[in-house]
Amino acid sequence: MIAFIIRRLLQSIVVMLVVALLAFSMFRYIGDPINQMVGVETSSEEREALRERLGLNDPMLVQFGRFVADAARFDFGVSYQQKKPVSALFADRLPATLELAFLSAVFALACGIPMGVYTALRRDAWLSKVFLTVSLIGISLPTFLIGILMIFVFSVWLGWLPSFGRGETVDLGIWTTGLLTANGWKAAIMPAITLGLFQMTLIMRLVRSEMLEVLRTDYIKFARARGLSDRAVHFGHALKNTLVPVITITGLQLGSIIAFAIITETVFQWPGMGLLFLQAIQNVDIPIMAAYLILIAFFFVLINLIVDLLYYAVDPRLRVDRSTSAGH
């Protein structure tokens, strides 16, 4: 178990280093950061001086080393555009994105799993067909179109839900949350659904196909032959076994929710990381972009780690304890 975690951690560090290198080296080549920092009226000597002061003329390796060392201390420099430490910007924006990601993940799981189970168990029911068709349409429409149509219907037309922003937020010190006000919840509905729809569809389809596979296995047949009730067979045996592979893929999916939030946040002006990142891309705000990449990778690695541990908890075959395995 410890070895398992350590191995995962080591791998994660490697992954993070590679990402850091990517983040660093890729963005080093987009546009000229100096242009972004100064107004249009700065002379070229001043620019050169600034370049020198920022260390942009140092060898790449030195710059990278500095970058990693700083990143390890959560110091991603100062945003060229906003002139504020990136870590502070992230601290402001992270709660919004994480809450959005959390809500859409909950939405995706809470709808996707039951729908997947239903469609697998009642393959021929009309409701299953409806679920499958609607879900296909869900993945066939680009997210931004869904978002805009929803705004059009629910904000402009019906006037039920706010079209932008997080609504009222409550500041809890290090964390500002929109989940403590009715207003905040209302504001989160459309973005969360827009963001979660795609994942929900995937999870539903995944659960369905895994469940169908599991329902075909011998142990399910044998469970039926033992006269277990349908409930026990479907939920006690089939669903639990379905979840084993579903966990991994779902984990990967949820990891990407945070990154997918770029589009949703843009459409709904959700004040999160994605919006920050997109603005950063447009402004060639290298510190933000680099930090964002690293953060995404970090969350991904973290979620992966959690998923692995979950997997470990769910599937006893992975728990190799010596006392018993030596028995035969």
């Binding site: 002379s43 420099g77 502070a88 904000s155 402009v156 706010p162 079209s163 932008f164």
Partner: protein, 508 residues
Amino acid sequence: GPIQAKTFRYAFQGDAQSLDPHALNETFTIGFHANIYEGLIRRDTELNIEPALATEWEMLSPTHWRFHLREGVTFHNGNTFNADDVVFTFKRIQMDGSDMGSKIAPNTEVIKVDDYTVDFKTAQPNPILHYEWQDVFIMDKEWAEVHDATHPTDITTDADNYAAFHANGTGPFKVESRETDVETVLVRNEDWWDTPQHNLDRVVFTPISQDSTRVAALLSGEVDMAYPIPVQDLRRVDANPQTEALTGPELRTIFLGMDQMRDELLYSNVEGKNPFKDVRVREAVYRAIDIRAIKQKIMRGQSDPSALMISPFLFALSDQFERPSYDPEKSQQLLADAGYPDGFQVAMDCPNNRYVNDEAICQAVVAMLAKVGVDVDLNAQPKAQYFAKVLAYDTSFYLLGWTPSSLDSYNVYANLIMCLDRDKTPTQAKFNYGGYCNPKIDALAEQILVETDEAKRNELIAEGFRILEKDWGYIPLHQQYLAWGAASDVDVKQSPDNKMLLYYVNMQ
């Protein structure tokens, strides 16, 4: 009973970059600061200069100005405003990291005469010395010193600049809270020296970058005012009983520039030659553009086709100028005469998120030029990439917009029209990316700068513009309209410099 507190909510496509009033010289940011800070002068809704923190001023000699300051003004923190603050401010804008250095010549002396009098001594005569000072916001010296913000926000140090996130002006509104790119809340300054023309108690500002989301927010009543409104949505905003559209010409002139300095175009299939060096080609391009179609279809009437590189609003003699006619046949003829009967190919740089319908305008231009045989490769890109490219003079053909911040033609000459010689005069005509150059105009410009007689000066300006017109040096397109939307029950004053000034806003 107590009057209900009036909260005004408005949205713009971006946020003010910083609260530091000297950090960035950018229209919206400055306009936003103008609600919190004040300059020695300000401009009324007609853009006429009126006294603000200075009550009056006089030119003691062509190089010596005296400004009398308003007494009894306090900053939001209660400190009194006096000459020290003015001297401090003018020093501060000349430091590293300030984007406002150009508002005053570097060798200008700023002298405190007494607590409420300040002198300015310039090296050269400058009749329009204070024309841009509505944007030079006076900071409180003590406050800046206490909070270690005596330097403008310096991006090269990691330290937070207090002034970038806090504000202490003399203006009609105080900052209550601010979250960059999310929300800024302002409250009424009860101790303002001036009589408020607004009736607001609280202002909530939210940036909304997506056009359609912003319009939706206005239409659904989530904000009381939003801008810019895409021109095509103005009708709907107007048709909606709860909202109305506010439009009017803006000062910015949108124009096309062509590389006339290189002997061979960078991005073209023509080898060994630069077609744009041939005045016939420039005229051909000019005449190939159907500006009325652009106005009608792309701008939906929300633009004034322009014959000049400056808004008629800012130049008294503009009615002497008329736009050369749209004439594709002549255009083709000219191209043939110039030796390009089959046209030629060139790449065009165009921003896609800077001006109203910029990309659509470029596309239309591309299509129109295609009809006369000029094959244009359109490179539409976000403004950051666009500016990085053109600022390096790495372009053959581009679309740009320009507002003279002094609201005066000399600014246009100095930045766009005079000869570009990066080695000799690095700051002159820095934005003349095509390198148009006519020494006659340069000579005129020098006269314009020092000429103090208004009428004569205008004549000189007109003369310069005539030469430019004959040279077909630039292709002015239009002044785009401001396109604002506001709830019907609020009264917003729109000014052609596109600054949204809260102290003119009234709510029912």
